[in-house]
Amino acid sequence: MKMLNIKINNLDLQVPEGTTILDATKQVNIKIPTLCHLNLHEFGIVNQTASCRVCMVEVEGRPALVPSCSEICTDGMVIRTDNIRSITARRMAVELLLSNHPYDCLVCAKNLECDLQALAQELGIREIRFKGEKMNYPKDTSSFSLVKDPNKCVMCRRCETMCNDIQTCGILSAVNRGFDVFVGPAFNLDMVDTSCTYCGQCVAVCPTAALTEVNNTDKVWDMLNDPKKHVVVQVAPAVRVAIGELFDMPAGTISTGKMVSSLRGLGFDAIFDTDFGADLTIMEEASELIHRIQNGGRLPMLTSCCPAWVKFFEHQFPDLLDIPSTCKSPQIMLGAIIKTYYAEKMNMNPDDIVVVSVMPCLAKKAEAARPELTKDENSNVDIVITTRELGLMLKEAAVDYAGLPESDFDSILGESTGASVIFGTTGGVIEAAVRTAYEWITNETLEKVEFEQLRGFEGIREGHVQIGDLNLRIGIAHGLGNARTLLEEIQAGTSHYDAIEIMACPGGCIGGGGQPYHHGDMEIIKKRQAAIYQEDRNKVLRKSHENPYIKKLYDDFLGKPNSHKAHELLHTHYVPKEKI
């Protein structure tokens, strides 16, 4: 690769051709402030709009300053990052943004997590010299999942990059022009009237509180304080490897035991594991896959655990509704079992049971409200909170999370296998399904349960698994743009897969919109994935069908996988939706 000689603040250095000034400055430990810039190379997520003008530097021979995030180094370039001209311009850009931003930091949902706030602190801004008109638009609280507050939008366009380039949903874009501009759906529609999947990736990358989750913590507190209600909580696999980050634990810390103790401390009457629901999902999904393969059913079969993905294909591919598995997602399956099997066991009226889910996801909030997923007017899951919201509740309750003892999930819906844990990462659902399908098809014990060919971070992966005579061709996609590619192959009839796993968020649930903010650091998501696989290895049982409580559930209640009762409780149908 051709190397270029450049000079930054009198320091000579060599950089490969194509390096941006920003990346070059990192080599010499210069930290230029940035705001709109986002670079998650490995996921192909790059926001290089250079619109905030917070990273301006001086280049010799250029009449104006240049944005370091997007300006590519050229040979012999002489750059100054520390002169008063650059410093003043950078600082003033932040001041201007602040002059058009509400000053409600103390009660803002992003307080201490806000990139703009951090920037103001970093640049030592103590006064906003420029005062004047501010944006004044109504908040959009129409959806179950996310809240859009245009007045806090700084036009970094990160959400647009996620929504349009990565997820290919095209919901968010700039509306109006000049000072009146903000990011929102076309015709300024409410989010609920668009084909938004609620994947929450816009929330995950928003530097301010222009996009945040719908906060359900008050509802949970109310239920916990209602003596007539039996409040049951379930926690998704990806939560246990991320929640520690909210309490200053390093990324990738597995804190399952502490998390269970903390929930018990909050006063939940029973603490169950969505992993149990995941094991149940595998029982149903693997049976469905085998049934489709052996009976000439429609292939490939697509997984259906991810509610953002489900909503995506309902809007974008209404002609392919027969392809995804009919299985409900693990959280909804477990909710259904709690409201039936568990209620029966405990001799309780299902109406008195409140199911709270802790999820890494915003789409799960909307999923729980889907009319198809209620039984007798009774939601399978009543309230969904995110990992971040649980963190808020614990902080509010003055819980010393790091110092908590470890404890176990409650019986009878708290036992899980390693197969269910890996549901939290891309490739995990299909790997779990393969572990079970292998043994069911071959009637042999699967010795090596780890399928390396299904793992990794590539957007679209292909892995082949030999099961007896059957060569199972598996496709895996994470990110809805990648999912679209695979679906278009199916539409065109060129798809050669038997089964496809799709997760809407880059990295899978570990990178979900409800997780602690990654602030553009890919390493955090990688560490969470490593932790998920570690948690799998920590388990004695690593195949869903070996879960003794799952077996008991089928023996006592459901009969067999794909039985009539299982279909009634654990399967759903999809509804074609308009594409807006």
Binding site: T49, A50, S51, C52, R53, V54, M56, A64, L65, R85, T88, A89, M92, A93, L96, L97, S99, N100, R129, F130, G132, E133, V154, M155, A174, N176, R177, G178, F179, D180, V181
Partner: protein, 173 residues
């Protein structure tokens, strides 16, 4: 004026007001993508507006200069980069007009309506009633062939009387 074009104006044109007019145009044309153009030109416009209604301070001049420099340096496209030019060049060549607005609360060209205070010179007025007839708010009193008087409270400083008077009896501040 910004684009490099040349415009001929006379003493009836207030340079602060002209600078404001240009920024109003920039505001209309701004796409809103980059911060300096989207918010910076808005703030410059607001400061100029403040000056033209007589509420400007000397600090505003510093702010205009700083903002102008930063926007020229940082805006993403040519529109934003040239937007502050009318302000910066009028500040350079017509600084006294800015000072008149800020310190004396006076618009030398009489173009800034909020600062304009029209009066009738009693020595020159012959009582022709031309001014009273064109006044849209009927604030000029006086019988034919007698001296006329403008009621400053009611006057909206439209300048109609100034144009109508053939005897230079209407005085503009």
């Amino acid at each position: 004026m910004g684009s490099g074009g040349m415009i001929v104006m006379d003493e009836d044109d207030c340079m602060v007001n002209i600078a404001k007019f240009y920024l109003d145009f920039t505001q209309d044309e701004s796409c809103g993508k980059c911060t300096p153009c989207r918010i910076g030109t808005k703030r410059m416009y607001e400061i100029l507006d403040k000056i033209t209604i007589g509420e400007g301070t000397m600090e505003d001049i510093t702010k205009l200069r700083n903002l102008g420099k930063m926007i020229k340096d940082s805006a993403l496209c040519g529109l934003g980069q040239t937007a502050p030019n009318p302000v910066l060049s009028t500040l350079e060549y017509f600084y006294d007009e800015y000072l008149a607005h800020i310190q004396d609360k006076r618009c030398p060209a009489g173009a800034c309506k909020a600062l304009a205070k029209y009066k009738i010179d009693a020595d020159k007025c012959i009582g022709c009633t031309a001014c009273a007839r064109v006044c849209p708010v009927n604030c000029i009193e006086g019988k034919p062939k007698q001296k006329h008087v403008i009621d400053a409270e009611k006057c909206i400083a439209c300048g109609a009387c100034y144009t109508a008077c053939k005897f230079d009896a209407v005085i503009r501040p």
